[in-house]
Symmetry: none
Subunit: 184 residues, 2 copies
Amino acid sequence: MYRISQLAKRFGLSRSTLLYYDQEGLLCPSARSEAGYRLYSERDLDRLAAIASFRKAGLSVEEIRAILAAPEKGEQSVLKRRLAAVGEEITALKAQQSLLARMLRVQSGEALPESMDKATWVAMLRAAGMDDRAMETWHAEFERRAPQAHHAFLLSLGIAEQEALTIRRLSQSAWAGAEGGDPD
Amino acid sequence: MYRISQLAKRFGLSRSTLLYYDQEGLLCPSARSEAGYRLYSERDLDRLAAIASFRKAGLSVEEIRAILAAPEKGEQSVLKRRLAAVGEEITALKAQQSLLARMLRVQSGEALPESMDKATWVAMLRAAGMDDRAMETWHAEFERRAPQAHHAFLLSLGIAEQEALTIRRLSQSAWAGAEGGDPD
DNA sequence: ACTAAACCGTGAAGCGGTAGACGGGTCAAG
DNA sequence: CTTGACCCGTCTACCGCTTCACGGTTTAGT
């Protein structure tokens, strides 16, 4: 049996948050001491773990309540909905980013190199001693192990869809060619 | 002279928003009709354009007030601060994204091999001929050129916040001159 | 037994920005 | 002069907590 502040510390939450969860009926302690103190059981602890996890995923208290009340019913759809919403939020923030960048550039002419682009990336790998051949091997490995992540990565470097596909195709053929055994 | 709802429609804002701006002293109509209606002049219109722009960049009403009161004074720093904050928000949302993806994966039973983790990444680089020392150099380069992207990248490999910070700190010191120590 | 610190409970107010309800004013047509 | 549509200003509620205030309880030390 834990008291409220112990539990809070254990989960890295504040006491107020737990009070709020109680008030909202999301996590009501399964017992009270004689003095009226909230006492949380092991089962409460598990429930809180789930709650904290869902909150980290950005679900609202309302949504979490629904999921915990009937998990089999709509958990999946709630999560999917949230996933879509997160995507939109990221898109919106990226728009803010470029707007801010434009505003700053107007002001000071220069832009900061906060994000990664193709040239920077290649320069980094070269600085670490990678040559053309090594990079080719690397792309092939990436494509073989995680084609989708490979694609996403190329796009994240600002490479266009078309070019990304080309690179991936080349990577695949490199791998196919290496299959026969072609040690360095 | 525009009335409040006309102005709202013109800027794609809601009437409530303009009411709120007035209440906060951010955009007070320069006149009132006999019946007490808010009347906005052309100059108010310009001011609103600026406000809307800053809001689109995610600045708070408070920050916008400061900028409009003394543009020459701290506009730049406010924008930079916001830019950094946006970066962090994006990072946080990406973390939510992967958490959600993991949750959905657990539900649907299958683990897709589509995403990249630390071990896979390291294995790929090794396959391409990178050794410990090269990786160290690479981290240092990444940290130097784009610290924020470096951080986001580490998190995308499923590395925890704490560990990511440790790696970044090591990368910085490696850059600063000290060498040796342990690799990935 | 007493005190001080650290805990606990409840209740209420606050944050930013938006949305809605409410009652009343304005302006057309009839 | 009335009806109805629409606009206005003001006030309140919402999210997910956080902070504050006030008073009771527990714990440790003397």
